[in-house]
């Protein structure tokens, strides 16, 4: 059983800490110009952090206890391929979801 005091310390501490992380640049830098070298790095935030976030989830899904799963790998490949070729986020998401649904019926 989780201790109630610990729980609330964690909820409030994590809430405050997460807000601080989100506010640190938006809040304290505001409209002061950022140096070129930093802007050059920031241009790649999305294409670096998001792949780093999902790559392990694609290769080692938690739902399969970290075992690579054919349906999920295929769904990931199709989503990426459609997104890259069409530049259409929705079309890519739907394609990937369809593979997951089809895989659920065919492979179980």
């Amino acid at each position: 059983m989780i201790d109630r005091t610990t729980l609330w310390i964690v909820i409030l501490g994590l809430g405050f800490g997460s807000f601080a992380l989100r506010f640190v640049f938006l809040g304290f830098i505001g409209n002061r110009p950022l140096p070129d070298w930093l802007l050059r790095h920031l241009r790649y935030t999305a294409v670096a952090v998001l792949p780093a976030l999902i790559a392990p989830l694609v290769l080692w899904p938690t739902a399969t206890d970290g075992q690579p799963d054919l349906t999920r790998l295929l769904a990931a490949a199709v989503t990426f391929g459609v997104g890259y070729a069409s530049k259409n986020v929705i079309a890519a998401m739907i394609s990937g979801a369809l593979v997951m649904i089809a895989g659920g019926y065919l492979l179980i």
Binding site: L12, Y44, T45, P51, T79, F80
Partner: protein
């Protein structure tokens, strides 16, 4: 006119954010189910989602608390998972930094993976949006993401274990992000950044406290910046 164009930006953000419901819904439900099963009350489960709004960090904290880890370790690990939010904050600062303080505080509170990814995709696609339009777009996008996060948490906590986990809903999150990343890979430098980040994140996945993600993210950004300089120099020759 400024008000009208901001309104249409808000509506465009709202529309672009609707598909995120597909990932927020299962993820929020899952949190509701897992947290109540770990012994949290309804109030505690929902408070967690409202105060923290960061799914991955919430799951990390819950997992460690269930293992009776020291409070400092719980906080440090969950915050490490959220370190990427500081990078998102920095990345949006050139766009939203001039907004009013209360707006920046609200933006910071609503800054999650989905709102960041959707917003930066739009700002790169339409670089000439005004500050009012950009701000309105952000809040439009956050509307179908953040309030549904609270509601689905509540729903999950109510329904509890009645939800089947074999539906492959866990994969909604990777699918949605892959769909957003693929169209962003416009230049060779973007591709270098993404490939480097992926390789580093996988190679360092064994590190505790999600440091693999931080290494991958920072390494990918550095590789992207270096590649940009390299390709620019090459073009100049």
């Amino acid at each position: 006119m400024a008000g009208a164009s901001a309104m249409s930006s808000y509506r465009r953000g709202l529309r672009d954010g609707l598909p995120f419901l597909l990932m927020v819904f299962p993820f929020g439900m899952l949190w509701g189910v897992v947290a109540t099963e770990a012994g949290l009350t309804l109030t505690e489960t929902v408070s967690f989602s409202v105060v923290v709004i960061a799914g991955a960090a919430q799951f990390t904290a819950l997992q460690l608390m269930s293992e009776n880890a020291p409070t400092a370790v719980v906080l440090a690990s969950a915050l490490a998972v959220n370190l990427r939010m500081a990078m998102y904050s920095a990345s949006l600062t050139p766009h939203l930094g001039p907004a009013r303080l209360w707006q920046r505080m609200l933006i910071s509170y609503f800054l999650v993976d989905q709102t960041y990814a959707g917003t930066i995709l739009e700002f790169e696609k339409r670089p000439h949006l005004t500050l009012a339009e950009k701000t309105a777009y952000f809040f439009g996008l956050a509307t179908p993401v953040c309030p549904p996060w609270y509601l689905t948490t509540l729903l999950g906590a109510w329904l509890g274990a009645a939800i089947p986990t074999e539906l492959g809903l866990d994969f909604a999150v990777p699918i949605a992000f892959l769909a957003m990343i693929a169209p962003m890979l416009r230049t060779p430098a973007h591709k270098v950044a993404a490939v480097t980040a992926t390789v580093l994140a996988l190679g360092f996945a064994w590190l505790p406290y999600n440091f693999g993600l931080i290494f991958g993210g920072v390494g990918g950004m550095m590789a992207g910046a270096r590649a940009e300089l390299y390709f620019e120099a090459k073009r100049a020759r």
